[in-house]
Symmetry: D2
Subunit: 150 residues, 4 copies
């Protein structure tokens, strides 16, 4: 069952290199005994922020003079395999497309057997908190973003 944002699953998967190790917290489960469906979105956020940090972008978003922050415009997640308490996961993030003030990220969550548990995507927009409007990437930011793109 191929998702609209995945053309070729093997190729798509190969393009990931950055990931964060995630351990499923007990409080991440729900009464159906598995990982609650809302939690992979939390993992995506964790992977995204660590990824941005890795690219050197987080410093742009804590500079109070500039006052720009990244905002989630949309997110989606496809659940392929149930996940249980204590499972060690890897959650990957990669850049799929760079816009003028936005970036599309793709996500991949795998278990310890490298089986896909969930996939996802979402657009992040840089906005300026002073006026609430989108703020175009600077040259330097584009370099950071492009550098990571294969």
């Amino acid at each position: 069952m191929l998702k609209s944002y995945i053309e070729n699953i093997e190729k798509w998967r190969e393009e990931f290199s950055f990931y964060v190790p995630i351990k499923v917290r007990f409080s991440d489960t729900d009464m159906y005994g598995h990982l609650n469906n809302t939690v992979p979105i939390v993992y995506f956020e964790q992977a995204r922020i660590d990824f941005f940090n890795h690219l050197g972008l987080m410093e742009d978003w804590t500079d109070q003079d500039v006052n720009n922050i990244p905002v989630v415009a949309d997110i989606q997640c496809d659940y392929l395999k149930q996940v249980y308490f204590n499972e060690p996961l890897k959650v990957y993030a990669k850049i799929a497309k760079i816009g003028s003030s936005s970036v599309d990220l793709h996500y991949l969550g795998v278990d310890h057997l490298e089986q896909i548990c969930f996939t996802g995507r979402g657009t992040i927009v840089q906005i300026n908190q002073n006026n609430g409007k989108s703020a175009s990437w600077t040259e330097k930011q584009l370099e950071k973003l492009s550098g990571s793109k294969k």
Copy 2:
């Protein structure tokens, strides 16, 4: 900016009638001062479960003899307006499409001025916990599901 799952926003919006009132918890916010982006997914879950309960479906999913449960196959959320602590929201849910063992739900979150804060959609599949496979809707379940569809 029309989402792929919304053809006509006025018509789409009119088809909602069921909603749950939601109050943004303090711990739902994050260090950017607004509602954390992972939380509307929690609100969708709340709206969905209350909606299923309203349709009389939850009793099918707590019957330990049958052992069927609803599982989230995918979810997506579009964030249109920032939400802040203490805002009273209404989160609507409606049925968009009924499959043989699945159902597509759409979601709409509005603030106290009836302004759209976020929209979303997702597919729920009924699976049987004994064999892990999808379980077709029974006649009775289809009645419950159809009854709610305009």
Copy 3:
């Protein structure tokens, strides 16, 4: 089993009047099928903030000129009765003791039969974000705090 912060349970209980209605979210449960033990602490926070808001104190903590915020110094919770999904709870808060820059709150969570599910207490300290030190209550704040005390 009387808790150290409760001398006389009937008297203690009578002193509560302010409460917030809480509905247990599905994602508040865990794989043991009941309310996860970390969540009543979230409910305490909700009750506390609504209580402070009710007393007119929240406006003091969003005034960016003064830059004071309330900080949780400690919290404790005693779990007396398991809580399940969808249960409508009332979570009460009251002031137990007022210090020079702090206040002790007590908490009580009951189910729809008015049975006690959990109790708790904790100290809140007002600190100034500019210097990180505790900030004494002003006359006006003391009035607001005392007004609520029976």
Copy 4:
């Protein structure tokens, strides 16, 4: 400011050896810019479960024939130092006292400079899900529990 459950802070601290590394998630923060006060309770749970797992106790609580589970009777947490996003923490757990069907655990959270951020304690009771009553430790369980005690 010594807590009631800590007689001598140096001695108390030395008795810990088991810990879990914790990374503060972005969604663990709140609009005051720091770790939300409800989250250390989540970290305690994580430390506790990993600790029980380390002691070999978790297998007793997933055996569906016996149907015993550990239940949190009470928890408390003292917050000594604000924690911020992305900080790497260590959260320690140790056994403080063993009862007939319960065990008291103490907790310690430190930052990367080994500075204390929060401390805590709480009682866990083993209950039987069939009758809802407390279930005494078996000989084997007591061995597991004692083995860890210095």
